[in-house]
């Protein structure tokens, strides 16, 4: 196989990679202008773009891997929209622990994202698109704003762009610190100026989203991919990847105990061990103990489970976890697993939005019990109780899948590294009760988290 040619990261190394001029020298905005120029002749239609995205097999890079083209078709037809505008929202809230790919895409090549958003907005008939960027990425928001301004000045955004009859505005909107605002309906509430409380679905955003208008929420990387599908065609995109259901270039975030942490681009479905090799292998040449394959919300995998793991949506799902945001956190043999799980439970206890009782009460409970355990004050019943509480939080008990995400690392961590948890119990040797194997539960939850990540 020929070496992989980067697509999304191709321009990252260039000087001034954020500026319009360099972007255009590298063929940037050719697709956008091509589409704009072909509208009056009927050469370019919204349906044509949507069909190209569908044919490419593009699946959402934000967590769930939902087919992007299919999602776009959920927007009601013009006659049924009662004159309401359509909105495209770019999800740049990137807060899932272990994830840092969208930041790089925006920081290094903002025009790539903007062109993807322009083409997508055309396909969706959206006249205003927003980039909801997490509050902490202050400088990144400045870079995006500068790029947006360049586009207005160059006549690539605004009213009647290039005489095409198309109007489009893009606004960068900063969040203010809340992981839950990455969940698409919470993001919508937050953009409306409210607390980021996820909405009960249905109605789904495509029908009634921001300001009660048809809305599509897509991840940064997803929208960046659209530009390349228009540049090089669906067949080219589909030709990259493990199989026709898992296609395209993919960014992987490698962190934890690896020699060279960072974002690596590879064909969708690269085997885990190849990816690990790109990141220089496990730190200090040690052995793997556990791997989080898709951010803190994903069930943990053991060394054995990652050996032949294809890193794509279906590959990781088959291992009863999820690719999620492709945030791969490697934990080596020196890792204290109960402490790692406790750390993750702290995150979820901190970030619950508080609307649903099982989640609002359950996440701090799990964290308190785990903290007690790792402080050497665990009680014999605690592991049982932990599993029991976790079992009451997931599987449809709550408005959004945050609660399912919160229990996935706890259930998988205890199931797969139970002896380490028991070692923390003072009377671990005389355990006289049997714990039900939570594996079946873990499986159901991984499925639900993956499903619920999309609308």
């Amino acid at each position: 196989m020929p070496p992989y040619e980067p697509v999304l990261m191709a321009r990252f190394g260039k000087a001034d990679s954020t500026l319009l001029e360099g972007y255009r020298e590298d063929g940037g905005y050719v697709s956008w202008l091509k589409v704009l120029g072909g509208i009056s002749s009927g050469e370019w239609t919204t349906t044509k773009v949507i069909d190209m995205v569908k044919a490419a097999g593009l699946r959402g890079r934000g967590g769930a891997g939902f087919p992007t083209g299919l999602k776009w078709t959920f927007i009601p037809a013009k006659e049924k929209r009662q004159g309401k505008p359509v909105y495209l929202l770019c999800n740049a809230d990137e807060s899932e622990p272990g994830t840092f790919k969208d930041r790089l895409l925006m920081e290094k090549d903002p025009h790539q994202l903007l062109e993807g958003m322009m083409i997508s907005s055309f396909a969706l008939e959206a006249k205003h698109a927003y980039i909801y960027i997490r509050g902490e990425m202050v400088h990144c928001a400045e870079i995006l704003n500068a790029a947006v301004n360049e586009c207005y000045a160059a006549g690539l955004l605004g009213a009647n762009i290039q005489g095409s009859g198309i109007d489009l505005d893009i606004t960068v909107h900063r969040g203010a610190g809340a992981y839950i605002c990455g969940e698409e309906t919470a993001l919508i509430e937050s953009l409306e100026g409210k607390r980021g409380h996820p909405r009960i679905k249905p109605p789904f955003p495509a029908v009634s989203g921001v300001w009660a208008c048809p809305t599509i929420v897509n991840n940064v990387e997803t929208l960046a991919c659209v530009k390349h599908i228009l540049d090089r065609g669906s067949d080219w995109f589909k030709g990259i990847g493990r199989n026709e259901k898992n296609t395209g270039p993919k960014l992987y975030c490698m962190s934890g105990h690896v020699e060279k942490p960072g974002v690596y681009e590879a064909a969708m479905g690269i085997p885990f061990l190849d990816l690990l090799a790109l990141a220089g292998g496990v730190k200090g040449g040690r052995r793997i103990k556990a791997v989080i394959p898709g951010g803190a919300s994903a069930a943990m995998l053991t060394e054995a489970e990652v050996q032949n793991l294809p890193m794509d949506f279906d590959g990781v799902a088959a291992a009863k976890s999820m690719l999620g945001s492709a945030a791969i956190v490697v934990m080596d043999e020196t890792t204290d697993m109960p402490k790692a799980v406790t750390n993750i439970s702290k995150f979820f206890a901190h970030e619950s939005c508080g609307q649903c009782t099982p989640c609002r009460e359950g996440t701090p409970w799990l964290n308190k019990m785990l903290t007690r355990l790792v402080n050497g004050q665990g009680k014999r019943q605690d592991l049982d109780l932990l599993l029991q509480i976790a079992g009451q939080m997931g599987n449809g008990m709550t408005i959004c899948v945050f609660a399912d995400a919160a229990i996935a690392p706890v259930l998988s961590g205890i199931a797969k590294f139970r002896s380490e948890f028991e070692a923390y119990l003072t009377v671990a040797k005389n355990l006289d009760y049997a714990l039900a194997a939570p594996e079946e539960n873990t499986l159901k939850i991984a499925d639900r988290v993956a499903e619920g990540m999309h609308s």
Binding site: E94, S95, E96, P97, G98, T99, F100, D102, R103, R134, G135, E136, M137, V138, H139, D169, T171, H173, R174, G175, A176, G177, A178, Y179, S190, L191, E192, G193, K194, R195, G196, W211, C253, M254, S255, G256, H257, P261, G262, V263, I292, A296, A327, V329, M331, T335, K339, A340, N343, I344, K346, F347, H350, E351, C353
Partner: protein
């Protein structure tokens, strides 16, 4: 209720009552400077509703005054036609709006999983110790430093990751802590 010695300034002299929302008073009335007012007007043109401008306008307020006092809440509420209680509800939901004054350097240490694996908790403890045994959220007596623990900053490849005000710092391990703190002027 109004006029007594304990009445917050914002409620004296016939100002609208803030309500029981518990925001700290800064002691005097606030309103945007002409520059901020201009930016406010520009922001309104980007959204179909006034309410949608709330988060950006709160950012603007924090830039103007450093933190969100009850008088800032009052001002933002009045220019956006919202109730102060609603605005305060939004302020308290998000972690990045400061509800008390903070030090010149707001040091935010990530303690999520990748940074945890790189020893972030020890960095946090040591950082607080070096700056005078600061408690979580406490500001040093000279007003220079506030140290808080935050969740993933999307810089997990640079663990332990730290933000100071709006700036990102990479690989802030304990052995580099002196150099890091020394670089904050």
């Amino acid at each position: 209720m109004s006029g007594g010695p304990n009445t917050p300034v914002s409620e004296q002299a016939g100002n609208p009552r803030v309500g029981e929302h518990g925001a700290l008073s800064c002691g005097h009335e606030l309103s945007f400077s002409p520059d901020a007012r201009k930016e406010f007007e520009r922001l309104l043109t980007r959204y179909p509703t006034k309410m949608a401008a709330l988060l950006p306008v709160l950012w603007l307020a924090q830039k103007e005054w450093g933190w969100i006092s009850r008088e800032a809440v009052d001002h933002v509420a009045s220019i956006l036609d919202l109730s102060p209680a609603f605005v305060w509800g939004v302020v308290t939901f998000y972690t990045m709006y400061n509800r008390t004054p903070v030090g010149k350097h707001l040091i935010q240490v990530c303690t999520s999983i990748s940074c945890h694996l790189a020893g972030a908790e020890e960095v946090l403890t040591e950082c607080r110790r070096k700056l005078g045994d600061l408690k979580p959220g406490e500001t040093s007596a000279d007003g220079r430093y506030t140290v808080i623990s935050v969740e993933c900053l999307a810089q997990c490849d640079k663990a332990p990751a730290v933000m100071v005000n709006d700036d990102d710092y990479a690989l802030v391990t304990n052995d580099k802590l002196d150099a890091f703190l020394g670089s904050l002027k």
